[in-house]
């Protein structure tokens, strides 16, 4: 399921199938409008980096796409299904095909690492306990954790390990789309680089589509095929890094050509 159509190459992204289509979406809280008629497509097999100032509403868009926040107008289609028109069964079928990595990991604190990874599998698939265990260890291995981490509780893990376990859980059902909310925040530069590589490797082997909210210029530079910029409640640009660097928009200029960007080697 995961690899379905992963042959779609990144280069021809424009002709590729859009797995997430955000059309004219408005999201607001009370009297403030956070996202004002925004449009965004995410194509199959690409890594999309989503950037914007703190509080600009990056996570809001992500949470709206995955259905945690209500929208006021517009349509969101995921894998061709209009999420607001879909019934519960259809929604659930789609939810099975995506995985979400929350910013703080959101691991279930009363389950062990292994049980956390097994949880979605156990709920959705009827497989034997032996296979459950083996798959959990395979996922742990994939995200670069030793098997003995499996019996630890989330409270006993370091920040980097929490991110890795959360990624393993997001990948548990072999999803087609993975949403990552600031995957490298709170990691040291080496750990963040490793995590970038990990995401890239898994994305290639599993044929994932990755929607990544991030602030990490290194991640944007190294693993994102396209970057979408959220500013002034709109997506003001979406395209490869070269396009970001060429932009004359003041916020993008400050972001991609500022002091930190120079350090990152952009």
């Amino acid at each position: 399921m995961a690899a379905n159509g992963s042959a779609a190459t990144v280069a021809g992204a424009n002709e590729a199938e859009a797995v997430i289509q955000v059309v004219d979406v408005v999201v607001g809280f009370g009297s403030t409008i956070v996202l004002d008629h925004i449009n965004l497509d995410v194509y199959r097999g690409e890594v999309l980096g989503f950037v914007g100032g703190s509080g600009a509403g990056k996570s809001v868009l992500m949470r709206t796409i995955i259905g945690l926040l209500p929208k006021r107008a517009g349509t969101i289609k995921v894998l061709g299904v209009n999420m607001s028109a879909a019934n519960d069964r259809e929604r659930q079928a789609i939810e099975r095909r995506w995985g979400v990595l929350f910013q703080q990991g959101a691991l279930f604190s009363s389950l062990t690492v292994k049980q956390n990874i097994q949880f979605p599998i156990r709920e959705y698939l009827k497989v034997s306990d032996r296979l459950l265990d083996e798959i959990a260890y395979a996922k742990l291995e994939m995200v670069g954790l030793a098997a003995d981490a499996g019996d630890k509780f989330p409270a006993e893990l370091s920040g980097g390990m929490i991110k890795r376990v959360a990624l393993a859980r997001a990948l548990a059902l072999d999803p087609e789309i993975v949403f990552l909310d600031e995957p490298t925040s709170g990691l040291d530069p080496i750990g963040a680089g490793d995590f970038d590589d990990l995401i890239r490797t898994l994305q290639r082997t599993l044929g994932l589509t990755v929607f990544m909210v991030t602030h990490d210029l290194d991640s944007l530079h190294h693993i994102c095929d396209r970057i979408a910029v959220l500013a002034d409640r709109k997506v003001i640009a979406a395209g490869p890094m070269s396009m970001m660097l060429a932009s004359e928009h003041p916020w993008m200029k400050a972001y991609f050509r500022g002091k930190r960007a120079r350090v990152a080697g952009l």
Partner: protein, 382 residues
């Protein structure tokens, strides 16, 4: 899902030829796993197999589940000393198989939790006895810390957190008034009704007033209020402190040079010590009122007679015996709630566990304390 659609096997002399077809994905894992297992078992019977080839050219989809099952199949035959060969696997799945190939299963079975069930249950009993001792030590420890914090506040009254105390007093005192009044009123009514019903049989109706007065003022008022406060405010204290502990807020306070006992616990317990006697007083009045109402409406005793009789039976001592217990009850509830709150570990489950044990322990201790007071007052003849 027919078997043929996922895995076919043909035996060719010393060579076993397996061919995978269709979608080897999570959805089909349930059907695929027994096939792999059956293949491995039948292979054991056919000892003469030297080489196993797995042709994966017919695979339409492969995910981690399928890749792992393939790996498991290959490992089974490798462990048996067969030569294995993988054919025709599509280029795009090669990386996936490489990922699962490194999976290490040397450590999968955890070695705890199994053993003699009798010994296990004995061990559990032993552990709980030991934890009982440790828990009482923690409560005493907290009492000591509280006393130190209180002494510090006495020396430097400006460090006392008045705002916080008033805020907690509002929550555990003022907001508890309606429910405490309602419950104690009802309890008073019930005691009176039961008393009249049974005392009437031997013409002792009027003694119901004695019973209500003494029972409510000495025991029931303070007990009911303490139990309600333990359930209402003790649990809240535990949950608040526990959540703060989980989110490292308490550590943050400590690193800023504040004493959590002084900042968080002292105001909460002081608020309880003020609130519980007041609630006991109000609750006792409500219970007496409820009792008087039932004695009048159901027992036909006029309010004048009720009040007169009440004045004769109860003295200030009866009232004081009840009231003097209230601050101690508050202290016990507050101490247990705060100690349990600080015991919370990282998980949501542990927060729930400590909150439950906070309420259970404080109600238990309140009743034990009440018994101790009863013995004490009996000894001094009050």
């Amino acid at each position: 899902m027919s078997d043929e659609r996922l895995l076919r096997s043909t035996l060719n002399g010393e060579r076993l030829e397996l061919a995978g077809t269709g979608a080897w994905t999570a959805v089909n894992a349930r059907a695929l796993e027994p096939l792999i297992g059956a293949e491995a078992r039948s292979g054991r019977r056919r000892r003469n197999i030297r080489t196993v080839t797995v042709d994966m050219a017919g695979i339409e989809q492969l995910d981690t589940f399928g890749a792992w099952l393939l790996e498991r199949l290959l490992r089974t035959y490798k462990a048996r000393g067969c030569e294995t060969e993988l054919l025709g696997l599509s280029e795009r799945y090669a990386g996936l198989l490489d990922e699962v190939r490194h999976t290490n299963l040397t450590n999968p079975v955890e070695g705890h939790g199994h053993g003699n069930s009798v010994i296990d249950s004995l061990r559990l009993v032993g552990a709980s006895v030991a934890s009982l001792g440790a828990d009482s030590l923690k409560v005493v420890d907290m009492l000591g810390e509280l006393a130190v914090a209180f002494a510090r506040v006495l020396v430097r009254p400006r460090t006392f957190r008045l705002t916080s105390t008033v805020y907690h007093l509002d929550r555990v005192g003022w907001h508890a008034v309606p429910i405490v009044l309602l419950i104690t009123f009802l309890i008073g009514c019930i005691i009176a009704q039961q008393g009249i019903f049974h005392f009437r049989k031997f013409g002792a109706d009027i003694y119901v007033v004695d019973m209500i007065g003494i029972l409510v003022l000495r025991e029931i008022g303070v007990l009911i209020v303490s139990i309600m406060v333990a359930g209402r405010s003790g649990s809240a204290y535990t949950a608040e402190l526990g959540a703060m502990k989980m989110r490292e807020e308490i550590d943050a306070l400590r690193t800023m040079g504040f004493d959590p006992v002084e900042v968080l616990i002292l105001p909460r317990i002081v608020a309880l010590i003020i609130a519980v006697p007041l609630l006991t007083f109000l609750g006792s009045l409500a219970a007496l009122y409820g009792g008087g109402l039932v004695v009048w409406l159901y027992g036909g005793v006029d309010p004048d007679i009720f009040l007169g009789r009440l004045k004769e039976t109860i003295s200030i001592d009866t009232f004081m015996v009840g009231m003097v217990k209230a601050p101690f009850m508050a202290l016990v509830i507050g101490l247990v709630a705060c100690v349990e709150g600080l015991q919370v570990k990282g998980s949501a489950e542990s927060l729930g566990r400590q909150t439950t044990s906070s309420v259970v322990k404080s109600i238990f201790l309140v009743i034990v304390l009440d018994g101790a007071f009863a013995m004490f007052f009996a000894a001094i003849g009050k």
